[in-house]
Each structure stands twice: as structure tokens, then as C-alpha cells.
Symmetry: C2
Subunit: 164 residues, 2 copies
DNA sequence: GAAGTATGTCAACAGGACTGACCTAAAAAA
DNA sequence: TTTTTTAGGTCAGTCCTGTTGACATACTTC
């Protein structure tokens, strides 16, 4: 079995490299989520609240069903978290004008503030990692992570996160 | 592209790049865990069982406290999952010879089989992502993800996952 | 008018994390 | 040797977050 480690057209990652990649993702995610988790705790919130606040912040006016498609959870799960955020004044709902059944979701000022607080440590972490690894590595990160996303959604998601 | 606006010694990632990086990690992790989750469901297990089986598989003879340090959960949380795995014959415990208080953990054959089943789809996913992105990107992925790990543990973890 | 859609709600349940308290046995230190 | 620390286990209760299933309402579309 001859391998061609330099040939770009037939690069086959080793078993060890794959195992390392899997473990790195575990450790990185574990620590990456630990900072916001601590902040959420102050509010009596959990990781689900973070995700909801984040994606409403990035997509003001998003509908409930679009949010469900992003999070891939049931509407009952979302409902509990979302109604809590609405009740406590972090999210406001606005009736859709085109379709009045829709509740278009927006962050309140309080919600935007929470969003930024939660995002800050994650930005810091990535900024340090990217600075250390260099600009090419940052681009490569993007390429690899995109490759982990389900193929049928990849293009749509990349387009969505690429918006200004 | 000879002249970059950023010199390599003072690369400062943009806000947009950081936001993208954060979202990519969410989407990638969401899909990356979905395949093993489906398999675990067959056994009546959850994601916690996967982590335990994986790290015992990678570290045969690991002690309970070392496993706790990796997972960063409480021993009560681990206990439920671990005792279930032992009871159902996926993990066996062996008294330590040097220190007889220790219960050194090993996978049984059944456990090793489950480990491989759970790992397979994740290997496939990474193999595809690395093949597509190329060997340099694979190395860059490793660098960036390592940079996300808490600094005080980074060296130890990198050494651990680097073993053959 | 009928059918489908967007959203919400109630109820019941499971997994997996937590805290706090308490226990045993063995090793290490005084 | 006595004391303290360490490795591990266990019981009880709580919280967050996910699940299914059933049902309701308002609205759009055909």
C-alpha cells in the first residue's frame, strides 16, 4: 500500500489524525462553552438560552420555525426557553405583517446586552487561537468545520453566516 | 497576493470572522454528534455514555478520578453512567495493584465494539472534511482547536492525544 | 368552504448535569 | 501508631433541556 502524502489529489488522513481531530473537538467544545455557561448561571439560564439569544441576535425578525430549523430541536423545547426569555424581557415578539400568524423575534436592549456578554469570552478565545495560528489557519479552520456540517445544509449555512 | 494588510506578527481577526468561527463550531458540533446519538439511542444510552466509552477505549486502565478530570463532571454524574455500562457488560473494573483503592477501567469486547461503532461515522465525517480541505488545513485545524482549550491544560492534553 | 401552515400549550417523561451529605477502604503522613 | 488524606461509592433532591403525543387557534391559500 503506497501512500502519497504530498499528492493533494489523494490525501488520506491517518487513523491517528482522525482520532486526534475527534478528541480535539471534544476538548475545545468543552472549554469553549464553559465561560458562557458560568455567565448564564447568574441569570438562572442554560445553554439553550444562549443559543436562542445568539441566533435571534444574528437574525433579527427571525420566525419561530426558522429558529427551530437552526437549532434542530422540537418546538416544545424551544417554547419553554423562548417564553422564559420573553417573560423576563430579553426577547420581544412582533406580529408578522405579511403573515400575521408569525411572531417575529427580536432582542430587547437587555437581550442584546446579554448576547454580547455571552459572546465576549468566545470571541476572546477564538481571537487568541487565530492570532496564534495565523490567517491561513483561520481560513483552514473554516474549511474543515464547514466540511463537518451535513452536506445538504452546508451551502445554505455558509451563505447565512457569510452575510455582513 | 504578495502583500497582506496584516503582517504575520500582528494578525487581528475581524469581528465578522470571529462570529463566523463561533457559529461554525455550533453547526459542526450539532451535526457531528447527531450520528452517534442515533446509534446510542438503540442501546438506551446518551451522549455521556459515548464520552465514557471513548475515553476508556483510548486510555485502557484509566482511573475514575482521571476520567473525571477529562470529562469535567461530578463523580455522581459519572457514577450513574459508568455503573450502567459496567452492569450491562461494556466496561469492566479491575482493582489496582499498586493502589488497591483504584478501580482501573477497561472496555470489554462488547464495549470495544460499541466504541468502534460510535466512532465510525465521526471518522468518516472528518476524513471527508480533511480530504476536501487538504493536509495543511488538517494541521491548521489542529492548531486552532488546540488554541481553544484552556491554556493551563493545553500542553497536557496535546501530549495525551499525540500518543500512538 | 376546506385544507394546510405557524404557533402555542398541556402533560408526561428521560437524560444528564448539579449540590450536599455521608460512607468505606486504603494509602500517606504525623 | 494514630491521624489525615485520597479513591471511590451512594443516597436524595433539584434543574435544565431534550423527547412524544394530543390538542387548540389564528391565519393563509386553494
Amino acid at each position: 500500500m503506497a501512500d502519497h502524502p504530498e499528492s493533494p489529489t489523494s490525501f488520506e488522513p491517518s487513523d491517528a489524525a482522525l482520532r486526534q481531530a475527534i478528541e480535539l473537538l471534544f476538548y475545545a467544545y468543552r472549554d469553549f462553552t464553559s465561560d458562557p455557561d458560568a455567565i448564564l448561571n447568574e441569570y438562572g439560564f442554560g445553554r439553550a438560552h444562549h443559543r436562542v439569544v445568539h441566533f435571534i441576535g444574528r437574525n433579527p425578525g427571525i420566525t419561530v420555525s426558522d429558529l427551530l430549523a437552526i437549532l434542530k430541536i422540537t418546538k416544545q423545547s424551544l417554547s419553554r426557553v423562548l417564553s422564559q426569555l420573553v417573560r423576563e424581557g430579553f426577547v420581544r415578539q412582533q406580529q408578522g405583517s405579511r403573515d400575521r400568524r408569525q411572531r417575529l423575534l427580536h432582542l430587547t436592549e437587555k437581550g442584546a446586552e446579554l448576547d454580547h456578554r455571552l459572546e465576549a469570552p468566545q470571541r476572546v478565545r477564538f481571537a487568541a487561537a487565530f492570532r496564534e495560528a495565523g490567517p491561513e489557519a483561520a481560513a483552514a479552520y473554516r474549511k474543515v468545520l464547514a466540511g463537518l456540517i451535513n452536506a445538504d445544509e452546508r451551502a445554505r449555512i455558509l451563505a447565512a453566516i457569510d452575510r455582513p
